[in-house]
């Protein structure tokens, strides 16, 4: 998987185990919240490994896009403007009815 790093010295089983560990913790590696010793180990073993870097970078790009989707919620709401307006109107109507019943 890597190009001439310590990774190549590992047995096949150990390489698979490390890859699985990395894949299972890729979110924390991307967000910088993984334990420092694990980050160091991954950097040493896979720092120049193209597939690892691609996975990491594309996951980071996915997180950026997810954040953008959040900032774009107004557009999502506008795309369902009629449903939005109907939902508000129905909720308001139900609220008025409830308030009226409470007064009575």
């Amino acid at each position: 998987m890597s190009q001439g790093s310590d990774f190549d010295g590992l047995s096949r089983e150990d390489r698979i185990a490390l890859c699985q560990e990395v894949m299972e913790n890729l979110s924390e590696l991307v967000e910088g919240t993984a334990p420092a010793d694990f980050c160091e180990k991954v950097e040493t073993m896979l720092g120049s490994c193209q597939p690892y870097l691609v996975y990491k970078d594309t996951l980071a790009a996915t997180l950026d896009l997810l954040k953008e989707c959040g900032g774009n919620s107004d557009t999502v709401t506008r795309s369902g403007a009629e449903s939005y307006a109907r939902g508000v109107a129905r909720a308001r109507e139900a609220l008025m009815k409830r308030r009226k019943e409470e007064k009575e």
Partner: protein, 202 residues
């Protein structure tokens, strides 16, 4: 109308002030509707969930003591409404796909196969809009238990701890679901870049 603070909203809701409901909708309606739409994937369902969420949330607001807790509490109400809706329609097999179907090939063997690098994305413009749209479609296709985590955490920007609180889960469970959901979405975007489209799951 100027946006009301959460503190002002709580007081207004407690005192049944005129305009409180409109202010509440103004402040949170858009986010709650977008959340419901992402969770349900259908406007008709989102509309039902949105209506129920607005009513339940606004009437319950008066009982809330901490203005700082409004946002997480609202998402708890919204998430419960969405999951209840989902459960009532569980028999419909056309809704949602399993996470197994979204795993990248070779995942179980720790073998990355689809290694196309598409991380260098356009900064803005139509292509980036297409990517966001593809991602929105991919979110809708996630299993509900994973979707709700990724929407709360990554789209709505709640912290991991807040997400756990909203869903009544432990933090490690949130982290696990979040990571799997993210990896599934990453895989769907890879398929989109490869020309298959995010919905073309085998």
């Amino acid at each position: 109308m100027a946006a009301w603070s959460d503190e002002r909203l709580l007081d207004a809701a407690k005192n049944h002030e005129p305009g409180a409901f409109d202010a509440f909708v103004e402040r949170y309606g858009g986010r709650l509707f977008a959340f419901g739409l992402r969770m349900c994937g259908h406007r008709e369902d989102a509309e039902d969930v949105f209506q129920d969420t607005l009513l339940k949330a606004f009437t319950g607001l008066a009982a809330l003591r901490e203005p700082g807790a409004v946002r997480t509490w609202l998402f708890r109400v919204a998430a419960n409404q969405c999951l209840m809706k989902r459960r009532s329609e569980k028999s419909d097999p056309s809704r949602g796909i399993s996470l197994e179907q979204l795993k990248p090939p070779g995942w179980d063997e720790g073998r990355p196969v689809d290694i196309a690098d598409w991380s260098d994305m356009p900064e803005d413009g139509a292509r980036r809009g297409e990517l966001r749209a593809a991602l929105e479609h991919a979110i809708v296709d996630l299993p509900a238990d994973y979707k709700v985590v990724v929407v709360l955490r990554d789209v709505e920007g709640l912290t991991t701890e807040e997400t756990a609180e909203v869903l009544g889960l432990r933090v490690p469970a949130v982290k696990m679901r979040l990571h799997r959901a993210r990896m599934a979405l990453r895989g769907q975007l890879s398929r989109f870049h490869a020309g298959g489209g995010p919905a073309s799951v085998a």
